[in-house]
């Protein structure tokens, strides 16, 4: 059992390897990792260490060259609809936010909800609620271009929460933010972890933010070089 999570194993990787099609780079080498439900894990490492590749494999965005990822005990290679799994169980936050420029913040939050049975009015209501959670309710009708970068990332976090995922994956979520905005995002992640018991796995370059997680996985050249529980921040 993890110190910060529950007994339930949410993610388990077994000898995970990833070689990109050109064959020149072993992005991941024999990575075995277990993440329990409710854990807050930071993955750190220099550029090219394989942390984003690992995150993509954990989130079923990509397939490993060999090895297996188990999600709640089920091997992802046996899951018939990875789309559905991503839609229902995983929320993604990207470094560059990737909000759709012609949609308002509230509309962007609703985009993943098209894959649910929610009615149009229920989608709007939920989007406003989620924007409230990330402190952006007052900006619901603003286009991404009218929001600050910090606000854009908050909107992206709200979008990631749209379908009530049990896992939040964030790839360099503060990479494009000023320190104040980055601080706000990490506070938000801490709040989601604390109040919702959400499992969070994030990739970051920033040691300060990395150490705010409850567990730190360090990578280099596709290998996990350390994995340990962090003292309370």
């Amino acid at each position: 059992m993890s110190d910060s999570g529950s007994n339930t194993v949410l993610l388990r990787t077994e000898n995970l390897c990833k070689v990109y099609p050109d064959g020149a780079v072993n992005a991941l080498v024999e990575v075995s990792l277990t993440i329990h439900q409710g854990e807050y894990v930071a993955i750190m490492g220099p550029s090219g260490s394989g942390k984003s590749t690992l995150l993509n494999l954990l989130g079923a965005l990509d397939a490993p060259t060999s090895g297996e990822v188990y999600f709640l005990g089920e091997p992802l290679s046996a899951v018939c609809s990875l789309d559905r799994l991503r839609s229902q169980k995983v929320g993604f936050v990207f470094q560059s936010f990737y909000l759709l420029p012609v949609l308002t913040a509230a509309e962007n939050v609703q985009v993943p909800m098209f894959e649910t049975s929610l009615s149009a009015s229920a989608r709007v209501k939920k989007a406003i609620e989620l924007l409230g959670i990330v402190g952006l309710q007052h900006r619901a009708r603003h286009l991404p271009g009218q929001l600050s970068v910090g606000e854009r990332q908050r909107a992206a976090v709200a979008r990631a929460l749209a379908n009530d995922p049990i896992l939040l994956l964030a790839d360099e979520p503060t990479g494009n933010l000023d320190s104040l905005s980055a601080e706000g995002i990490f506070d938000l992640f801490a709040k989601l972890h604390r109040e919702r018991g959400m499992t969070i796995v994030l990739v970051t370059h920033d040691p300060e933010f990395g150490h705010r997680a409850k567990r730190l996985v360090q990578m280099r050249d596709g290998h996990v070089i350390s994995d340990g529980v962090l003292p309370p921040h």
């Binding site: 839609s87 509309e107 993943p112």
Partner: protein, 376 residues
Amino acid sequence: MRFYTFVLKNLIRRRVRTALTMLGIAVAVGAVVALVGVSSGFERSFLELYEKRQVDIIVSRKGLMDRLTSGLDENFGKKIAGLPGVKAVATGLLDFVSLEKLGIFGVMVQGWPDDCFMFDELGIVDGRRLRKGDDRGILLGKVLATNLNKKPGDKLVLFDEEFTVVGVYQTFNVYENGSMITLLAPLQKLMGREKQITGCTVVLEQHDRPTIDQMCLKIDALDPAGKTKAMPYEEYVRSTSQIKAAQAMAWMTSVLALIIGTVGMLNTMVMSVFERTREIGILRAIGWRRSRVVRMILLEAILLSMTGGLVGTLAAIGLTRFLSSRPSVAGMIGGQIDPRVILQGFGIALLVGLIGAAYPAYRAARLMPTEAIRHE
């Protein structure tokens, strides 16, 4: 937000491209609706000429591609009239003339005997009908009279001979309203086809198909030389070379327009998918199924093509109405387009949209989220 709102916003964000693609579809669909509409209107009006007068059979010279050159003995009509079951027979000589000095082309001129029952069907709106002895008299259809600015008593030169307008008629048919009628004998003389007629229209006492088919055989048998062909009026109209040529040209032009429209749509949707590769990757990453991505692309294309179809159809209707009011073509083009042709236009627009979007949608659906997100 509804899914179609999302799709609509995708289109609106690239206004110029959306407008240009829509215009391309509009031109393609407009061409189809206008050309096919005019050619099918052409056929419909010809059918109407016979249908509304309850004509059952048309008799003309066998084996001719151009029915205008058909030549039968003018007494052949009397032989047909003698057959039991024949109610009435009208003989006539038909040709097309152009009044080039007046800028009016392809005017139908018919020569009828003075006792032809068809005269009774003409609604004389000014002047009087043709009578025996009116060798230099002519009747003008209302549209033609308006375009020529002629009224009873005015003179009109035809085949270098001066005719006097004795009356103006109006019928239910656009071609007849744009045509003119003389007595048979003077027209035969002017055209150098003395004692000849182009054909006969036959009205039977019973109008069922077996009776019509039997009567056709009997009429054919009246000519021992076997140079006469009697056929039901629908068959006659549909096998008329002018109608066939008009339809072939309409469809050929339409097919070209459609190919251009489809390629335009394909180009737009391919570009749109290519430009949005990363965006599609994001949508897939946040859980969109491949089928939803496909639906998004197809719906965008359908919205584009149906809007283009609507614009094109409205433009075609407007253009046809405008053309039908021009003196040079009035009497050749009816202002109405058959609703079936309009439906056909929308069907084609839908097809163009779906064909043009099929490959881009397939390509978008095949994108791996991680590859798409990495796309620059």
